[in-house]
C-alpha cells in the first residue's frame, strides 16, 4: 500500500476516535461548555510530520465527519480542516518540534486560525455559528485547553512508529 495512503488512513482512524470522544465523553470535562479539540491537535501533528498531502486529505475527511455530526452545513468543517492540514503540512520538516513549548505554540496558533477561518466562512455564507466567531471568551478557553493538552498528545502520537518516519515530503 502507498505510504501516504497508509499514514492518511491511520491518521483518519486517530481523528475518528478523537471526534467520537469529543462528542461523547469529553463533554464531562468541558469548561463552561467548551471541550478541547483533540482532532485538531492530531491533525496538526500528522500534517507537520507527514506533509500537506496527508494533512489536507486527513483534514478534509475528518472535517466531513464532523459536519455529519453537527448541525453545521456540510462542507464547513471540511473546508477549515483542509486548509489547516495543508498549511501545517507546508512546514513539514522545517520546524523543530521540542517536547513541550512548540506543540503548545503550534496548537494555539491552529486553534486561533480555526476561529478566524470559521469567522470568515460564517460571514461569507451567512452561517449562524454560535461559537467563538466574535472572539468572545469561549475561544480563549479552547485555546488554553488545546495548548495544555498538545504536549501530552504529541508525546503519545510520537510513540507510534508510523509517525516516526522522518521522510520529508517532496516540496
Amino acid at each position: 500500500m502507498n505510504k501516504d495512503l497508509r499514514v492518511t488512513l491511520f491518521t483518519l482512524l486517530a481523528l475518528g476516535i478523537c471526534i467520537m470522544l469529543q462528542s461523547t465523553l469529553l463533554g464531562k470535562i468541558a469548561i463552561r461548555g467548551v471541550r478541547p479539540d483533540l482532532a485538531l491537535i492530531v491533525l496538526v501533528f500528522a500534517s507537520l510530520r507527514k506533509g500537506s498531502m496527508v494533512g489536507q486529505w486527513s483534514g478534509f475527511a475528518s472535517g466531513f465527519l464532523e459536519d455529519l455530526m453537527n448541525v453545521s452545513p456540510l462542507g464547513f468543517h471540511s473546508l477549515l480542516k483542509t486548509v489547516i492540514g495543508y498549511l501545517y503540512g507546508v512546514f513539514s520538516g522545517n520546524v523543530f518540534v521540542d517536547p513541550f513549548l512548540m506543540p503548545m505554540v503550534l496548537v494555539v496558533v491552529a486553534t486561533l486560525l480555526k476561529g478566524v477561518l470559521a469567522g470568515i466562512v460564517s460571514a461569507i455564507f451567512g452561517i449562524a455559528a454560535s461559537g467563538f466567531i466574535t472572539f468572545t471568551g469561549r475561544i480563549w478557553i479552547e485555546v488554553a485547553y488545546n495548548g495544555v493538552l498538545a504536549p501530552f498528545l504529541f508525546a503519545l502520537l510520537n510513540l507510534f512508529k508510523i509517525f516516526k518516519q522522518a521522510d520529508k515530503e517532496g516540496a
Partner: protein, 289 residues
C-alpha cells in the same frame, strides 16, 4: 498534449489536490446551506449515530456498573423514605383526580373543548457537538421511531418540565436537536404572570442565559425578577405553556422600544440526559407502542 497535462499535475499534485478538496467543500457548503442537499447529511447522521450510540453505550456501561454497586446500599435507605413519600403521593393523587374532575366540569361549562395531552417519545442524549462552534444535541431516536424534523423537545429536571429545543435533522436511528441556547433557536414566548409576549433566543456562547426580546416597554412595571417564561404557542411549532425559564435581569435600553429580559433556562443543559419529544400527532406515538 496528454504528456503536458501529466507533467502539470505531477508538478502541482499538492496544489491541485488542495484546490479540489476546497472546491468540494465549497460546493457542499453552497448546496447544504441553501437546504438543497439534505439527504447526504441524513444518511451520514444515521451511520455516525450508530457509532455514537456504541461509544456512549460503552462508556455508560462502565459508569453504570460502578454506580449501581454504590447505589445498592443507598437504595435501602431510600426505600424507607420512598415508602413514606408514596403514602403522601397517594393522598396528592386523589386530590389531583378530584381537581381534574372539577376542571373538566368547569371547562365543559365554559364551552371549551378539552384537548388531549400530546404524545411523547422518550429519547436519550447520546452525543453533543464535536467542537465549540455549533450547538448540537444528538438523541438516540430517529425516523424509525416516529421522530420528525421540527418536533419540540422537552425534559424534566427537578420537579419541572422545561423546553430543550427542537429537532432539526432526522436520521434512521438518531436525530439532531437544536438547543434553546443556540441563536438560531427562536421561540415565541409569554410571561406567565403578566401574559406579555416576546421572542426568546439563545446567545450561543452562554448556555445559562437566553434572552427574551420584543416585550413592550409598558410591561416594565409588571415584570419581576423570577417571573416564569413559557411558550406562547404562536406559530404552531411549540405547544402553549411549556416552561422556558425564569427572568434574571430586566433591561430597558433607551434606544429600544421594547424590554430585553435575561432568562435563566429551566433546563441545565450540562446535566441533560433524557428528553421527550412532543408529537403533535399522538397517533404516531400510539402506533409505535
Amino acid at each position: 498534449m496528454p504528456g503536458v497535462f501529466e507533467g502539470f499535475f505531477a508538478k502541482r499534485r499538492k496544489g491541485v489536490t488542495l484546490a479540489l478538496l476546497i472546491a468540494v467543500s465549497l460546493l457542499c457548503l453552497l448546496l447544504s446551506n441553501r437546504t438543497v442537499v439534505i439527504r447526504p447529511k441524513e444518511v451520514g447522521l444515521s451511520v455516525v449515530g450508530f457509532f455514537q450510540k456504541g461509544f456512549t453505550g460503552f462508556f455508560r456501561w462502565f459508569g453504570d456498573t460502578a454506580g449501581s454497586i454504590r447505589q445498592l446500599s443507598a437504595a435501602r435507605d431510600e426505600l424507607a423514605v420512598a415508602r413514606e413519600r408514596l403514602q403522601d403521593m397517594d393522598r396528592v393523587t386523589r386530590e389531583i383526580v378530584e381537581l381534574r374532575r372539577q376542571n373538566a366540569s368547569l371547562l365543559e361549562q365554559l364551552g371549551f373543548a378539552q384537548t388531549l395531552p400530546p404524545g411523547r417519545i422518550a429519547a436519550r442524549v447520546i452525543a453533543r457537538d464535536t467542537d465549540n462552534l455549533f450547538s448540537t444535541i444528538t438523541i438516540n431516536k430517529g425516523s424509525r421511531r416516529g421522530v420528525r424534523a421540527g418536533m419540540p423537545v422537552v425534559a424534566w429536571q427537578g420537579d419541572m418540565e422545561g423546553l430543550v429545543g427542537k429537532v432539526v435533522l432526522v436520521g434512521g436511528g438518531s436525530a439532531q436537536v437544536l438547543p434553546l441556547y443556540d441563536p438560531q433557536c427562536l421561540v415565541s414566548a409569554r410571561l406567565d404572570r403578566s401574559r406579555h409576549e416576546g421572542l426568546v433566543a439563545g446567545q450561543g456562547k452562554d448556555r445559562a442565559t437566553i434572552v427574551m426580546r420584543y416585550v413592550r416597554k409598558t410591561a416594565a412595571a409588571l415584570v419581576e425578577y423570577g417571573d416564569l417564561v413559557v411558550t406562547a404557542g404562536l406559530g404552531g411549532l411549540y405547544p402553549k405553556g411549556i416552561n422556558i425559564g425564569r427572568i434574571r435581569e430586566i433591561n430597558a435600553p433607551a434606544y429600544e422600544s421594547s424590554l430585553e429580559l435575561s432568562v435563566e433556562p429551566i433546563i441545565d443543559f450540562d446535566r441533560l440526559e433524557d428528553v421527550f419529544l412532543i408529537d403533535a400527532q399522538p397517533e404516531t406515538a400510539e402506533g409505535l407502542k
